[in-house]
Symmetry: D2
């Protein structure tokens, strides 16, 4: 499979971490132009990826830029102690991220919660918006009375194309034109290849949000090129790719067929002749029309989406407002 094919294939992979894994397994080794660094602390694994060259971008199928991923496998256990630690770490990491990409401490911020509040796994963005600590109206109405340590923050949930008839990107553009933020933080629900990453992973990226990513279908991106304002994207996988189920089943079927050696020969031979990436691509093509209408979710999705949205909101609130106590970040969500 050529690099070009891989790029086309990977374009749809939401998590940079998974795109890297796939590309490495296909390319049998590290990808040139992609720097990565991993740290682990108390059950929270943070991976910092930087795609520094066009070649790396082409191979990995992700835009050049910075990607930070939090993986917290225990996050589904609803331990509020752990949740608070994650929110605190997220606040620190996000503050550093903003500094690294040159966003100042007084830059005005517009938080954009993408997705559909009526489809549970797509409601992440709107829920974060609800819990964001917004202050823009205070700066507008009584600028001299805003306590020090708060910056100008606003937040909107533009809805999805099927409900509004208007591209999210256009709605955001209109609001940007009126409210003049210096930075957009766009929140979106993603898909993952691994069940264990669903609702336990948070990705920060400075590449904006590109058409076709996330659960909803976007035709126009939410990027600096389009909006004229830098865009940092925060994503959480809340659904599985249907292809994951198919792929897992085929693996298990293969195991099963091994017991009937004579039957399995042809099958295994065939399967072995197709590498994992190609197989996934076939499944994705096959599921295309069907997959568009289906969501594969953990049974407990309704219970966890709110938790992870609160962690993201708490982390943002503490990262954006210096006045928010960094040691008890969740005290300020509403």
């Amino acid at each position: 499979m050529s690099e070009l094919d891989l790029q086309q294939f990977n374009v749809g992979i939401d998590l940079a971490l998974e795109a890297k894994e796939l590309a490495e397994s296909a390319g049998k080794g590290p990808i040139p132009g992609v720097l990565s660094e991993v740290s682990e602390d108390g059950g929270i694994t943070i991976t910092r990826l930087e795609v520094t060259t066009e070649e790396g971008s082409r191979i990995m199928g992700k835009m050049m830029g910075n990607y930070v991923t939090f993986e917290v496998p225990e996050l589904r256990k609803q331990d509020t102690g752990l949740q608070d630690r994650v929110a605190t770490k997220l606040a620190q990491e996000f503050a550093n991220f903003l500094e690294r990409i040159g966003v100042g401490k007084t830059a005005n911020v517009l938080i954009v919660g993408l997705g559909n509040w009526n489809v549970t796994p797509d409601a992440l963005g709107p829920i974060v918006v609800e819990n964001a600590l917004v202050t823009r109206h205070f700066f507008e109405l009584m600028p001299n009375e805003v306590a020090p340590g708060y910056r100008n923050v606003s937040a909107v949930a533009p809805g999805v194309l099927g409900i509004t008839g208007i591209e999210s990107s256009d709605i955001v553009q209109g609001i940007v034109d009126r409210s003049k933020p210096d930075l957009i933080i766009a929140i979106d629900a993603l898909a993952s290849k691994a069940l264990e990453r669903v609702n336990t992973t948070i990705q920060i990226a400075d590449t904006g949000i590109h058409p076709g990513s996330g659960i909803g279908n976007k035709r126009r991106g939410i990027t600096k090129e389009i909006l004229g304002v830098p865009v940092v994207a925060i994503g959480v996988p809340t659904v599985l790719y249907a292809s994951t189920i198919v792929s897992n089943s085929i693996d298990l079927m293969r195991e099963h067929l091994k017991k009937h050696a004579n039957q399995a020969d042809g099958f295994m031979g065939l399967l072995d002749s197709i590498d994992e990436n190609e197989r996934l691509q076939l499944v994705r093509e096959a599921l295309g029309p069907l997959g568009h209408d289906l969501l594969v979710t953990p049974k407990d999705i309704d219970q966890f989406i709110e938790d992870i949205a609160n962690i993201v909101a708490s982390g943002l609130n503490a990262a954006l407002h210096e006045a928010v106590d960094k040691t008890n970040v969740s005290a300020y969500t509403h």
Copy 2:
């Protein structure tokens, strides 16, 4: 009480019908410059009010313009037959209303659902948006393939100031600038003085939405003057004024005290010396700070808000798109 006082008082009354009742009871008779016409059919009472002069507007405390009110006391019984009839009549009346105020059949429409989708009685607007038949994206993406009989309709729920930090009016302005509609239809949840009107009444007005009306606090209107596009407002009372409770209780206390004639003399004398309007105004003043944080709702609000939102959406869909079968209007909500 002077006319000026009355106007100040009535400014907060959402329903033109109630403003007229109050003004008439205070003024002991019909209001000059206010035309009204009532028709009844099968449990649906339609009142068409027109405030034609500045004097009438001042006395009634409502803007000059056209107001149409549907009253359907049985609407809470959840008879889908009745619901369909109301939606059908609403479609006809709304189509006539648009014609009367000069909106053409191909005018592009932006539906704006005001309110907070997380506060049940304030969720009317967002629910109507969800159920509106939007087509703008089809006109944009494949203009030659849109079936005849559909017009260009889009719909947004801009959120409330406390959540977004941006005035709804500003968000709508930004979206109007980008999407260039010819008409805005703004949906808002209102307050009523009468329990029996809650969730059973629909008001259409061509006056737009003014600061301070509806459940949420607006500081800037959604009007033709501000947005440069005509605005038709559709409102449904979903909460009671807290003053209604107080007023009803005082009436009942007075009845009670009558039985102890000697005690009641002073009280009744005093109460009789204050006319109904003045008393209401006192109560509103008194409740001011408290009332702001309180909602008085029927116990069954969660169950009915969805029904009436569907009626409004069905009526709008049939009024706006000629292709929608006017005899089965609710077939097109989603």
Copy 3:
């Protein structure tokens, strides 16, 4: 594959219609001891199945008894006219069903809504309970004042084992012991093999509810044998079997591989050597542990579950209470 194997396999198939299709495709023809009759009217297909012999039951993998299935492919279009027709037909069919199995017009009924109100696709039962026209309290408190044409109906949603720690069957048993109904009507969300059946199909059966059926895991049945009271089950498929996705993908992959004839030979040969049933069984085995935690739902599930629950409730209300107008059945849901 032996009949015995098939039975084991089919035990998990919720819809009798799908069990019959599978058994017929495996057995190459009609199943002995299974009577069936199909009628169609205005987009509503009604199939009446009767499994009359133990042989038929064994082959089909479903209990002996009566099964009536409504299939209404257009039901997702949210046409309230069609919804009302389905509810009306359901009322008639259900009334006939009760008569056929010997339930009298004054028999006291307990409606049991199985499932978890917090997991959207599993919330069917609890939503039907909410919308059932219950009267038992009126019969208890003022027996002489209940209008003629109503029977004694009560309704409970017992919750699921993971939330309560008590088998639904035990909770129902306790309530039956206290409230002494003559008949139980149990509502449950099912799984289907076909996307087009999800939220468009209703199954009535006089066989009760058996361990392992429905979305939730039951370990003890809700049957006449256990509760001492006849149990009619009403089920609606609201999720897909994950195996459906796998199976569809494999079919599509096969198509794809045909284009590369030399590659596909072994694969196709192998796939052809496994018949559809065996393949499905393999997939189910393979998905076992994974599938348990996953739900595959149409994206629009949140919007449709309420509609179909209302249809079921409306149909039940009209079937159970003679006083409910059979021509406008949905007027009585609340």
Copy 4:
């Protein structure tokens, strides 16, 4: 006003603390037979009341027994640090409470969540049930494998009379007969006279739940006398009495009228001749039929009900299971 009158009046007051305040203000002093003790720590005020004599019970209008009240005015600020402290303190206090009334550490517990999950302010009980750590099914299915430190706990939400047609008390009785708990913990949403107590106060009482208390109308109690098992009630006020609004308004009106001294004389004289209790009673009578259908809630009720339910659930989980870490109690809600 005689003691008898007061008792009739207070019967409807849900919070023992408010009943005591009212009785003391009426009786001009402490109530005989009522012991009370107050402690404060870090924003959490705990009041332990014991009604030890029939005279005290008659005067206060509350059953003889133990009442513990948590008041945490800052609880609405959604500081998860404070929430965790409250849950932790609640766990300790509740464990002590059980010990004090003689409930052993291995007693089997059934948690009963009263109320209607579809009416936001009445959903407290069902939400606590969802978040309770239930173990009964493990004890039933694999008794030898339950880790030490867990006791046998189950949990049910029986629904409300208007939905089920069966008294909650009867449903609970049936479940008690089948599942044989040693103790019932009943959770219920209450009404308060003070806005600042709504969603910030938790009451524990060993008196069970009596007809007419809470938001829903109960006709039969959930008490040891009826069920044969001790009942501890946990209540949280989530709505205001409508009479509170009326009473507050009248006070404010009085202030207003003072400015027009000649007008106010009669009114004030009259108001002064009615003491606070009598006035409240009048208002309650007056509002009787109206109040029954109305809920007066803070605007933010939807956001806070979940928080306080989680606190109650976390506190219960830690109090009931020794294995639950008392220093991080919220780690075990799901």
